[in-house]
């Protein structure tokens, strides 16, 4: 089971902050996951493809979309950060 997390304006698109789901076996990378999410929700697909959105797998930032999600317990989609 993998937990998907959405923050900031992405949460406005999904309507939820997190969702647990069993990733299909053919989803090996972040790119695969993007395609999978786009297929079920094109608006979300577009939102997570927007400039500045970063992905973290198991609380570690991904450098690119080729990173594996096979051992992912937690995948977070994060729009540009803004604290302080």
């Amino acid at each position: 089971m993998t937990r998907l997390l959405f923050f900031g304006r992405l949460r406005d698109v999904t309507g939820f902050a997190e969702r647990d789901l069993e990733l299909p076996r053919d989803i090996a990378t972040i790119a695969d996951l993007r395609a999978f999410l786009s297929a079920s929700d094109p608006d979300l697909g577009e939102a997570i493809a927007a400039r500045g959105v970063r992905v973290a797998v198991n609380q570690s930032f991904c450098l690119n979309d080729l990173e594996s999600v096979c051992d992912a317990r937690e995948i977070a989609f994060m729009p540009p950060l803004s604290g302080g």
Partner: protein
């Protein structure tokens, strides 16, 4: 010593700074600090609340990582970061950063650099709500420019 607190509770910056200062050692000659408040007025108009989201666990770990990055560059002896999350009414403190060091240059540099990182590199998402609705706030080009100066 680095202490990072992310809290949904309101905090009193002066009280927290006093506690932080009380624990200083006798080589400490400098304490620099910064408090960021939720403004009630911006150039966009009236603000009633700010909503801050964070990523529990990851946010704290990232701030600690950024603080260690700052400590590798500036010889501070103690650093405190308190960041509020959740719904924050106008006028309340959002963030407190304080640093102790022997001399002032390191304390100033540590606080400023930590604040710059919090604006652009720490996992927080900020939404400003006013009478005309709400909007997500993203770092400004100035925020990114300041961060670049630290070679991050």
């Amino acid at each position: 010593m680095i202490r990072v607190v992310v809290t949904a509770e309101a905090f009193a910056p002066a009280h927290e700074t006093a506690c932080f200062a009380a624990a200083r050692d006798d080589r400490c000659g400098a304490l620099a600090s910064f408090v960021g408040y939720c403004r009630g007025h911006t150039h966009d108009g009236v603000v009633t609340t700010l909503e801050l989201q964070h990523y529990p666990g990851f946010t704290e770990a990232e701030i600690e990582r950024l603080a260690r990055q700052v400590s590798a560059k500036h010889a501070f002896t103690a650093l405190l970061v308190i960041h509020r999350v959740g719904v924050i009414p106008a006028g309340d403190a959002i963030v407190l950063v304080a640093a102790q060091s022997a001399h002032r240059a390191a304390a100033f540099a540590a606080v400023e650099e930590m604040m710059d990182y919090l604006k652009t590199d720490a996992p927080f998402w900020k939404r400003e709500a006013g009478p005309d609705g709400a909007r997500w706030i993203e770092p400004t080009s100035d925020d990114y420019a300041r961060r670049q100066e630290h070679g991050a």
